[in-house]
């Protein structure tokens, strides 16, 4: 189907791609339902170290606030997703499914007050790399 569209309208595909590349965490990259799904997984798998309101512990970094935002600003959701996949949870890195990791990230985005949208956060690193992590809300388009 995609191939058909590509043949029929190569420009449309290019345009879609360009739009995709310009997305950031401010563009509604997860859904409220997904964040709700991620919340209990966060509490089961992450909160023990990162805290019940994501403020971190003595040894685990916060997942909200200045240091967290600064660490990831200018990177992509793919970078954040891969870090989680590779190293978390600490007791068994990679133990969770890609879907669970994506749901946890959706919950983290909601706690950090990035807006929800109509499509769920992807599960594939390559696709997530198209979503920029930006701490500052872009100026409204005129």
């Amino acid at each position: 189907m995609l191939a058909l569209v590509a043949i029929a309208c190569p420009l449309c595909l290019l345009r879609a791609q360009a739009q995709e590349e310009s997305r950031s965490v401010w563009d509604g990259v997860y859904t409220e339902d997904q964040a709700k799904r991620g919340e209990p997984i966060y509490h089961k798998e992450c909160a023990a170290c990162h805290g019940d309101i994501l403020t971190g512990g003595e040894s685990a970094p916060p997942l909200t606030g200045g240091a967290f935002l600064a660490n990831w600003n200018g990177l992509t959701m793919g970078d954040l997703f891969d870090r989680v996949r590779k190293t978390m949870p600490q007791s068994g890195p990679g133990r969770l499914t890609r879907q669970q990791d994506a749901d946890i990230l959706a919950f983290m985005l909601s706690v950090n007050k990035f807006p929800a949208g109509k499509t769920e956060l992807y599960r594939q690193s390559e696709m997530l790399r198209q979503i920029r992590f930006e701490t500052t809300k872009p100026a409204p388009k005129k």
Partner: protein, 689 residues
């Protein structure tokens, strides 16, 4: 007798002369650390983080280039993103701990070439350890011939290695190791494999005695009021034999036992020394910065002042006997562990020479004492503090407040502290703050309620002020340099703990949230997680920042220079580039905001002949540099920035410096976010090549 003394004096003079003549030759008959070396975690046993080197100075700091770098990814079965070590450099070799296995590595200090590596595979014991990852460092000892490296594994075993080869010294302990879970005047429960006790700091060696403290898991949400105790021990560096022990929670009949009412000294634990210990070898005195007792924020099960919790204790180097103590916080309720090395300083106050010890703190006070007598240099009166209303809690009506020097970072939260960049932002900050109880230093925690307060909004508690990196000290000018987080807000709310979660009446938590047991990194979170109690009505997640802006006014992080002769600030600056979230914030467009510094608490400083050097704890992207962090140098007399050099990731371990082959190097540990741990060595470009 007099003649004997004269003879001794003559031989001392001869020895000093010989040392002077030999200096800086390497490999002299006796071990005399040189100014060009970095022989212990804090540069010296006084915890100064000072070296009088000046090849790298204001005129060339920005020219620094990377001499070598070493990633820690392969020193363990998984990469580490929290590399906190400070290496040593002695006798032409650089030693460090690194990686998720806490490996010991020996490197050529000029090239970074790996000379040897040692790692301990501890299995379940390592996996269950409360303090994992690479730790802060190690200790070096030499009698002039033999060289030894000592470190503590995550599983709490003291390992002694040959500094030349990395092979265990078989004559030390049991084939090169001492099991620190044994011979500790207590039975570590539940068993040696999983019993909670460990340490992440570097051991200290003074006059052939190795001194080791103890650390535990996070103390905000303990499962029980009972825990293992964090005693401090001195061991013979030659044999590993225990020489002494100091009971940080007194045993029955010992001084201080009665400060634990209702027999609570029997079951309360923690109260360890998890940070760096300092020693005055000449006086033969050891300075122990003791942490909080079990349960950071609720002390209802340990009524009384709780000696020696959050107390600076001075003990005898040979016997471990207490010489003096000063409790900085009575009946600890705020997680104000004494978190960094006491700094030893010979100062002059009102024309009188004094041997002092200066203690930086989370609460932003620099406590200064006569280190011989333990008497405060300046008055430290007991002042009344708020008494809280948490059921079952025991409150100290007063706390000691130093009159000099003034607090060098915020240690409470008031409406005046909230951001005021614009009226709209201030209103939002006030709205958030209205959900909490506010107050000055030592405002007690509250029970978290959905209708409010959700807790006490504190600063200078768990993560504020100065944490484990501590301060630096310039013995030439009698000045302490200390970094502090001036914006690390900690909401402390208490929730009733379900019986299946904890036997403590209240643990840290937020009304409406599931009760969680907080773990340190690497703890087996899956296996240890308690069954989740029934979920309650949510209160929503209160973000303590507004569109990426901290709730409080800048500066967010500072370095302060404090004269110990006067007890006054020499200068104070914001340390760290303004965060991207602030600099690029739409709401602040058009406002001229001076450099704010950064909201982080892990920054250590280094002092040289002319500079104070510290890296940034946040990543920024500016017109001057791509995404990364800067290692900055300040004129130590004025605080004026004189240079900066790019780092690929934030500073996570404190910088150190040394000279080798006529060149000065600065080594710093960086990591965080997506960047795994790396030691980076900087030096000046070689000229004429």
């Amino acid at each position: 007798m007099r003649e004997e003394n004269l003879k001794r004096l003559r031989s001392l003079l001869f020895l000093s002369l010989a040392v002077l003549l030999c200096w800086p030759a390497v490999g002299s008959a006796q071990f005399h650390p040189k100014d060009t070396e970095w022989p212990s975690y804090g540069a010296d046993l006084a915890g100064t983080r000072y070296r009088p080197l000046d090849q790298i100075n204001a005129s060339n700091f920005s020219d620094l280039e990377i001499a070598w770098r070493i990633k820690s990814d392969n020193f363990g079965d998984r990469p580490e993103y929290k590399l906190e070590g400070t290496p040593l450099m002695v006798n032409g070799v650089l030693y460090a701990t690194a990686g998720s296995r806490r490996a010991v590595i020996a490197l050529d200090p000029a090239t970074g070439e790996l000379l040897w590596i040692h790692g301990e595979h501890e299995g379940k014991r390592g996996g269950a350890a409360p303090r994992q990852l690479s730790g802060r460092g190690l200790a070096y000892w030499s009698d002039g011939k033999e060289e030894r490296i000592l470190y503590v594994t995550p599983g709490f075993r003291l390992i002694c290695l040959d500094g030349k080869t990395g092979v265990r010294i078989s004559s030390f302990g049991n084939n090169g190791e001492v099991d620190l879970k044994l011979n500790d005047d207590q039975d570590i429960f539940p068993d040696l494999e999983t019993g909670e006790i460990g340490i992440q700091s570097a051991p200290v060696v003074a006059k052939d005695t190795v001194i080791i403290g103890a650390a535990f898991r996070e103390g905000m949400t303990p499962k029980s009021m009972r825990n293992n105790k964090g005693y401090v021990r001195g061991l013979d560096v030659r044999t590993g034999k225990r020489l002494w022990i100091f009971h940080t929670i007194p045993k029955k009949g010992e001084f201080g036992y009665d400060t634990w009412e209702k027999g609570s000294a029997e079951y309360t634990g923690n109260t360890g020394v998890w940070t760096q210990i300092t020693v005055d070898e000449q006086l033969g005195l050891v300075y122990l910065p003791v942490e909080s007792p079990t349960s950071d924020f609720y002390g209802g099960h340990r009524p009384g002042n709780n000696l020696f919790g959050e107390t600076l204790v001075c003990v005898d180097l040979k016997t471990g006997e207490r010489k003096w103590h000063y409790q900085l916080v009575h009946h600890p309720l705020w997680d104000m562990d004494i978190s960094s090395a006491p700094i030893l300083a010979d100062i002059t106050v009102d024309g009188k020479p004094l041997k002092a010890v200066a203690q930086p703190s989370k609460q932003g006070f620099l406590y200064v004492f006569d280190r011989v007598t333990g008497k405060p240099i300046w008055p430290m009166p007991e002042r009344p503090v708020e008494v809280g209303s948490v059921p079952g809690e025991w409150y100290s009506p007063t706390q000691p407040i130093p009159t000099k020097p003034p607090a060098y970072s915020r240690n409470g939260v008031s409406i005046d502290d909230l951001i005021d960049f614009t009226p709209a932002l201030r209103d939002r900050a006030k709205e958030i703050a209205s959900k909490y109880h506010l107050g000055p230093v030592y405002t007690p925690p509250t029970v978290s309620k959905l209708e409010g307060p959700l807790g006490t909004l504190t600063m200078g508690t768990a993560s504020g002020g100065t944490n484990w990196p501590g301060g630096s000290y310039d013995p030439e000018t009698h000045t302490v340099y200390v970094y502090a987080c001036n914006s690390c807000i900690e909401p402390i709310g208490l929730v009733s703990a379900p019986k299946e979660v904890s036997d403590i009446a209240y643990i840290a938590g937020t009304a409406g949230k599931e009760v969680e047991i907080l773990h340190g990194p690497g703890e087996n979170a899956g296996a240890d997680s308690p069954k989740s109690p029934k979920k309650r009505q949510g209160s929503g997640y209160i973000s303590l920042n507004i569109d990426g802006l901290p709730l409080v006014k800048p500066p967010y992080g500072t370095i302060t220079a404090i004269s110990l002769d006067k007890g006054e600030f020499v200068w104070q600056i914001a340390h760290g580039e303004t965060p991207d979230a602030v600099r690029n914030n739409e709401a602040l467009k058009g406002l001229n905001i001076p450099r704010t510094g950064q909201e982080t608490y892990n920054i250590g400083t280094l002092v040289t002949k002319t500079l104070v050097i510290a890296g940034e704890g946040h990543v920024t992207t500016t017109a001057d540099h791509p995404r990364g962090a800067m290692l900055r140098a300040y004129d130590k007399t004025t605080g004026k920035e004189v240079g900066a050099v790019y780092m690929p990731a934030p500073q996570t371990g404190s910088p150190m410096t040394y000279m080798v082959n006529g060149k000065q190097y600065i080594v710093v540990a960086v990591s965080g976010g997506p960047y795994s741990g790396e030691y980076v060595a900087y030096t000046l470009p070689s000229t004429g090549e």
